[in-house]
Amino acid sequence: MGPYRLLRLERGPVEPGIPGQFFMLRAPGRLLPRPMSLCLAPKGELWFLLDVIGAGTRALADAQPREKVGVLGPLGTGFRLDVPRPLLVGGGIGIAPFPYLSERLGRPPALLGFRSLLHAEAAALVPDAEVVVEPALVTEALPSGRDVLACGPEPMLAAVRALAPDAQLAWEAPMACGYGACYGCAVEIEGRLRRLCVDGPVLGGRVRGLAPAVAGRDLAA
């Protein structure tokens, strides 16, 4: 997957939830779990796409076969799926929830942006994807008249929102807990600081996701 890594866990009894919802994964040897959106849920498995950028993602990427990884979820608000003309717009590791989202929406078109050709190899995970590589940007290729569901870096989401005000946007923030306990993931939403884990991570959708389940599980890698 280019520079990204795919972590595959045995699903056990854990529900995959709605695309755009996330799981807290306990990185072996680290104090705090890491929030990851679900990439795909093939039969009996949960897949997570990782960008190895720090100690936590490194520890998760290095999980050995059969090693147990603690998971909590699905958490937060997912994408609203009742959209007539969906278009997935993603940037970099922000494409992580799109394979599952694409499957649930019946393989709609996708527009994906990456910083290099190597990173763009991950586009193979998303069906029917048009790919742009920097310096080209997804916003330059964004068609009008579509229901945009987007995930990516903050500047990309802000630019998408400027062009498509009704877009559903999946945001990101550092999180210690993922279930409303730590207040660490506060972001400004409609002028107020709110917890992204309970009010998001998908904002702009009108319908809330599943209520957070707060019973963790150990799943095998």
């Binding site: 705090l32 779990p33 603690g70 550092p174 306990a181 506060a186």
Partner: protein, 298 residues
């Protein structure tokens, strides 16, 4: 008695977790609403985590009107943590809580490292709070005090019924790439394993100095850690950072604590309270024949 550390659990967002506690301690409430500090608010460190939430809360009026009734529905005893920027702030919150039957106890947070401290000393704030409420009053102290036992004694003389030990330590983390502070406020409160031995020392010292009940907290991740705080003098143990990684920690640690206490020969965890202060008891040799052998002259 297992509680949560203030600010480490939202009982309304996770009621099943709160119901596993012997009492739920609220996030600190101040007279006026506070949005809290700007993000980034948290960072993982080598042996702990930093937070700089900045006492985000709805303010005492909305807390009493909207939050407290919903907390009461959980049927878990409620301790309300109060904060402020002057002794009057604390007194105001305490007087408003005094008439509320839902409130089992008040914790006076005189030790948040992420907001400006009140001008008054801890014992002056406790005295003002004491005058405003007849509820059981716990003073939550900072581990950064030069002489925590002296502050604990002063709090006791000012009318505190108990101590919550300890709040976080001020710490700093730098971003690995930019070498700039990871948190928007630069420094934050350090919690987790790094705080464990600091908390243990504070509980040990304050138990020896005062006769007050103590809720010990700081880096507890297991029943063994909880038992150590009890042995140092705690009559209750609060869970903080571990709740972020493991929402099932209250039930797990409760079971581990009972097993660990039994393993040490205590009838209950509380029977171990303060044993760290007792002289070491010489262990009787359980095998008389071995004793005889050891006295043989060769």
């Amino acid at each position: 008695m297992i509680l949560n550390a203030s600010g480490c659990l939202d009982a309304l967002a996770a009621p099943d977790v709160a119901r596993e506690l012997d009492a739920f301690v609220t996030k600190t409430v101040t007279p006026l609403p506070r949005e809290g500090n700007a993000p980034v608010r948290i960072a993982e460190t080598e042996a702990g985590m930093l937070n700089s939430i900045g006492l985000a809360n709805p303010g005492i009026d909305r807390f009493l009107a909207d939050v407290l009734p919903r907390l009461e529905a959980l049927a878990v005893p409620i301790w309300v943590s109060v904060g402020g920027f002057s002794a009057d702030d604390y007194a105001l919150c305490c007087s408003l809580l005094d008439g509320r039957d839902e409130v089992a106890a008040v914790e006076v947070n005189v030790s948040c490292p992420n907001v400006a401290a009140a001008d008054e000393a801890a014992h002056e704030i406790v005295r003002a709070a004491r005058a405003a409420t007849g509820k059981p009053l716990y003073a939550k102290l900072s581990p950064s005090l030069a002489d925590i036992a002296a502050v604990a004694l002063a709090a006791a003389e000012a009318g505190a019924d108990g101590l919550s030990l300890v709040n976080t330590l001020r710490g700093l983390a730098l971003d690995g790439r930019t070498l700039r502070p990871a948190l928007a406020t630069a420094t934050g409160g350090l919690s987790g394993p790094a705080l464990r031995s600091v908390a243990l020392a504070a509980v040990y010292t304050c138990y020896a100095a005062t006769a007050l009940p103590v809720v010990g907290m700081g880096g507890v991740e297991s029943g063994r850690h909880a038992l150590e705080l009890v042995a140092a003098g705690a009559s209750g143990v609060a869970l903080g950072t571990i709740l972020f990684a493991d929402p099932a920690a209250p039930g797990r640690i409760r079971a581990e604590l009972s097993a660990e206490a039994a393993r040490h020969g205590f009838a209950s965890p509380l029977a171990a309270r303060g044993c760290a202060h007792d002289p070491v008891v010489k262990v009787e040799n359980a095998r008389p024949e071995a004793r005889r052998l050891s006295t043989l002259k060769v």
